[in-house]
């Protein structure tokens, strides 16, 4: 119990810190790297939840593929010219901080005031989070959604290919 709580707390704090770093550092590369770290921490938290498969997929797909794609594009764009993209818009800064504090306080306070949710999880089923359970859920009940998602990925590939194709007239109007 103690260990799981400690793990949770440590990685929760780490993920929050890295999220804040993502949002606030000036260089986009550093931002991406801290984002990757945040996703790792989230994956660990998924593990503490008992959602093993989701955690693994998070590491493989999210942190491994999507963020790499982000890094490629950052480097693609940064290579093109040397503008500094890094100023933070000053006007909404303070308002945003205030809003953030308000929202967080509100949500937490509401959670703290409500009964019935703070407490331990009910006992998990043996098969919760295993690949078997998730697979049977996907391929039996939600097969249609699965197929639709495949089609979605196909469309995404096609779109990406179309959008990134170089025009014959050249670039940069």
């Amino acid at each position: 119990m103690l260990i799981s709580s400690a793990v949770f707390y440590i990685f929760a704090i780490l993920s929050v810190i890295s999220a804040i770093l993502t949002v606030s550092v000036s260089s986009p590369v550093k931002s991406a790297v801290s984002m990757i770290f945040c996703l790792f921490c989230l994956a660990v938290i998924y593990f503490t939840l008992g959602a093993h498969f989701a955690g693994i997929i998070q590491i493989l797909v999210y942190a491994g593929a999507i963020m790499v794609l982000f890094l490629f594009v950052i480097m693609l764009l940064e290579k093109r010219n040397n503008e500094s993209f890094d100023d933070i818009i000053s006007a909404p800064k303070i308002i945003s901080l205030v809003l953030a504090v308000i929202l967080l306080t509100a949500l937490s306070a509401s959670l703290a005031a409500s009964t019935g949710y703070i407490g331990i999880f009910p006992n998990a089923a043996e098969s919760f989070g295993t690949l078997k359970a998730v697979g049977s859920s996907i391929f039996k009940k939600y097969i249609f959604v699965f197929e639709a998602l495949s089609a979605l990925i196909l469309v995404a590939i096609a779109g990406v290919t179309l959008l990134s194709a170089k025009n014959s007239e050249g670039d940069n109007k």
Partner: protein, 101 residues
């Protein structure tokens, strides 16, 4: 302290808010996209927490679907950013104001 649903929800809320704030603050489009991903991740965390609460593997599947969608959307979005960078020469969100007026 025993970790319960509330803790996960608070964490998700915090990540969501951080992502939202980052979305309003940053000028670089790619960082904006990363903030969106952060928000998606927080939603994912919420779904998984509730999945554990209700002990239902279907929610687990839903979390995976969210991940797939996030991947597709990230790919398309980045392709758009590249295209826009080609045609406008800038990836600064304050300069892309075609919606003005």
């Amino acid at each position: 302290m025993i970790i319960g649903l509330a803790h996960y929800l608070v964490l998700a809320a915090a990540l969501f808010i951080i992502g939202l704030i980052g979305l309003t603050i940053r000028k670089n489009i790619i960082v904006l996209f990363m903030c969106v991903e952060l928000m998606l991740n927080s939603a994912n965390l919420t779904i998984l927490a509730y999945a554990r609460q209700f002990n239902d593997s279907d929610f687990h599947a839903a979390a995976l679907f969210v991940m797939v969608i996030a991947a597709a959307e990230a790919a398309l979005g980045l392709a758009l950013v590249v295209a826009m960078f080609r045609y406008r020469g800038t990836a600064d969100s304050t300069k892309l104001t075609l919606l003005k007026g």
